[in-house]
Symmetry: C2
Subunit: 500 residues, 2 copies
């Protein structure tokens, strides 16, 4: 067997183990009975470790070295070269951290999450502080081991969004702030123009489920290659090619979370369902990055499902399922309700104008903590100041402030920016799609979302993991990541809605 | 780490892999979307092979040899000794078959199953015949490799019901036939005494599900450590300690399959839920044999749930869920309906009097084929003759005759007897329970099935895999397997019902 075959065989083994782990993880968060928890964690941990050990073995290094030899490498086609490149990148990342440090980090993160849960409940940042300090200390060590050019934070960013740097992010954020903070102020002045109250009321769970299924069908989700189930914290997960599952949550008094949550997860799922069959079981099967993944979900949730055009087609479906609630509500009123902008404290409930500010402040704070220009003990104060500055509001307590997200408790520093990048990629991609697809908005109005999905398949999905996020954006839009698309999208849409 | 610790560590690894495989298998038969099938089969196959290879490694042999050394062995307690014994038995079985033969067998069985499906559909035994011949040829070879004292069939039996022999089975069957064939004739003469027609009608799926959940609760199934889901071919599966799941099937026009299928699977599940926590992750965690497993399901389905006493308590529940269907039906009439005896062609639909005859004929035919006293080409004729002899009926075609079960197509020869043994064990155990539990039937009448479950926990479940089936029966009932208990149970019950 030559080295390429060996690489593919290894990749297949890892994907089969991952398929097992993903199946267990999906079940754990949907149907698993409580007394199964102990064994399930052990089984997931055990199989993940098997896969990890297999991947970081010397044999993997040997295969990669063999494939990198000039004679061998030159004989490969473009896809095969990408396989070697990606395998090498991931191998080096995995090897960079000594197993003892990695294990210590995992254990600390796990304890930290438990402490954070209590801290959030008791509104007690102090009890959580030493854990965050310890995690940051280890993350600094890990950043050194991963390596970086300019800023230790770059090393962590690179895990989630390869190629992006702190410097680039700061520049983007500067642009966004300059344009959007004043624009948000203008919106707030026009407050009465939107009214989300019609989205609150009584919404039967079965009916919400029915609507969520229709929502997924409307955007082209393939139910032969997935399912929709209920969970507590919604997610999308691939259990292997041909099996990408969506979950959602039904709030009996508020329609938005299940309906728009489903569009969001559906966007993630369409990406995974669109990955090229020919890459299956190779190192380039998969999503490019968290940010690109998020671009697919945000585009579907916001640019598509929150557009007037889409609702022209889909709002009648909503009315059919909830005739009492919306029978007398005009499309215009519904459209405004679903696009209501209002500064709020909780990130996951934020609208598309304010959302990025939640990310910026997290990015600025975590970067400062990592580089010790902010001490952990001063974090709550810094948080409250920033959210006041950006959104004009202040948390009553840390539970609705600095303690709201699990990410830091889990040691996921460098993760948040991918949410913001997702929004920016989405706007840039959607602008390009509008340019290239004749009458895109007209098509969407007729329920033909398929033209957009085809475009995404062709320009994003079919490449699998072949490119870095920035390369992919350049290939698909002809231009580097440019926040102006997002700014333009927001301004055009909300200038109309708020009649600014 | 000493050898015992090594054995336990190995056993834990195998159980964690099995938990993953079981989760995937459960999902495959309940919720998996169709396009997932390919990856799922590969993942299950891959992980099963990992576990198998790990188990048959030289290291395992070394651990067992080390533990068997007199000095070491004598230091072990009774449970630990059983661990070594069971591990050795399973290791030797697994090592007996060369991997090439095993793989060839697996592939042939898989092809054979596909061919059988078509053959059954087209009522075409001829197309299936060469596959069965090939499988039998390999099974003869495997029997030689496993080894046996008297009859090659013993080697196959031993895989499913360790310790049982062809000789013992034949003697049991002789007794059963002598007593039950004439008794069945008497029942048939009293035909009008029972009428199952009230069990047919319209039974909403949601209501059936509700009733199945109540049925499981009534027999003490723990929903914190399991769930009930719908499937095509009902089964019970353990996804690890604390997670034993039941499945059932809802026929919208016939109540019996879901309700009594649920009692049956519930009996299996109670066994697995009752396994001792202290044996978790060791070689003695698990069920003794298929036959003992079946004794638990048959006892719950027939001796408990089909008893007058249980229905006195549970029939009101059935009425509550289906007031239209049973509002005016007396307990007596329902009891007779659910215990209706009638020779029929399909094993899985058979009542408790005729069921064993379906097994006997399969046993006699498969034993004869293995030993070449019956040629495969003559199997359909032999089948039809035997079913005529035992039950007085004849299939119209092979689909409802010799082709009805998947077992032979799958190469599972030696499996069927465990169904019959289950019935016999159940009767013997239940007789002992009646002897030892004060007022067992009175308790059941009051819905207190728990006293019986406690007895089973104490006498069967808590031993895990420690003993051979025959040893366990002797320990728990004080006597060797004796078919007279089953005969007595059947005669007492049906003499009353049919007023013989």
């Amino acid at each position: 067997m030559d080295a390429l075959e060996k690489l593919k065989a290894l990749s297949k083994e890892l994907e089969l183990i991952n398929a097992a782990v993903a199946t267990m993880a999906w079940d754990q968060r949907t149907y698993m009975p409580p007394k199964s928890a102990g064994t399930r964690s052990e089984a997931i941990g055990y199989l993940s470790t098997i896969a990890f050990k297999k991947f970081i073995s010397d044999e993997t290094g040997e295969i990669i070295r063999e494939l990198e030899k000039e004679d061998n490498f030159n004989r490969l086609d473009e896809n095969e070269k990408a396989m070697v490149r990606i395998a090498k990148r991931e191998y080096e990342k995995a090897k960079a951290i000594p197993p003892e440090l990695f294990q210590k980090f995992t254990i600390t993160a796990s304890k930290s999450e438990t402490v954070w849960e209590q801290a959030k409940k008791n509104n007690d940042f102090k009890s959580f502080q030493p854990y965050l300090e310890e995690l940051l200390e280890m993350l600094r060590e890990m950043a050194e081991l991963y390596g970086y050019k300019e800023n230790p934070y770059d090393a962590l960013l690179d895990k989630y969004e390869p190629g992006i740097t702190t410097r680039k992010l700061k520049k983007i954020i500067e642009t966004l702030k300059a344009e959007l903070i004043p624009f948000l102020r203008e919106i707030i002045e026009q407050k009465g123009k939107t009214d989300p109250s019609i989205l609150y009321g009584r919404f039967g769970k079965k009916a919400q489920e029915k609507l969520s299924i229709r929502a997924l069908k409307a955007i082209g989700y393939d139910f032969e290659a997935g399912r929709l189930d209920e969970t507590v914290h919604p997610f999308t997960i691939s259990l292997g090619a041909g099996d990408v599952r969506v979950t959602t949550k039904y709030d009996p008094h508020f329609l938005q979370p299940s309906l728009y949550g489903t569009f969001h997860e559906g966007g993630h799922a369409l990406y995974e369902q669109g990955l090229p069959e020919e890459f299956k079981y190779t190192p380039i099967y998969g999503a490019v990055s968290l940010g690109i993944h998020e671009s697919q979900s945000r585009m579907m949730e916001n640019m598509v499902a929150r557009s007037y055009e889409f609702l022209k087609f889909f709002y009648p479906e909503i009315k059919k399922v909830f005739p009492k609630q919306f029978g007398r509500v005009s499309l215009d009123r519904f459209y405004r309700a679903i696009n209501h902008v209002e500064p709020s404290l909780i990130r996951i409930e934020a609208d598309e104008v304010t959302y990025n500010f939640h990310i910026m402040l997290r990015f600025e704070l975590e970067e400062a903590m990592l580089n010790k220009s902010l001490e952990v003990k001063d974090l709550p104060r810094a948080w409250n100041e920033k959210i006041k500055e950006y959104l004009g509001i202040e948390p009553q307590n840390d539970a609705e402030g600095v303690l709201q997200d699990v990410h830091w408790a889990n040691g996921m520093i460098g993760y948040f920016p991918s949410y913001m990048l997702g929004n920016l990629y989405a706007a840039q991609l959607f602008a390009k799609a509008e340019e290239e697809i004749p009458k895109l908005r007209k098509n969407i109005e007729k329920g033909n979302v398929a033209v957009l999905i085809e475009w995404l398949r062709e320009n994003i999905h079919r490449h699998g993991k072949k490119y870095l996020p920035e390369e992919l954006i350049k290939i698909s839009t002809g231009e580097e990541l440019n926040p102006e698309y997002f700014i333009r999208y927001i301004k055009e849409k909300y200038t109309k809605i708020y009649e600014i």
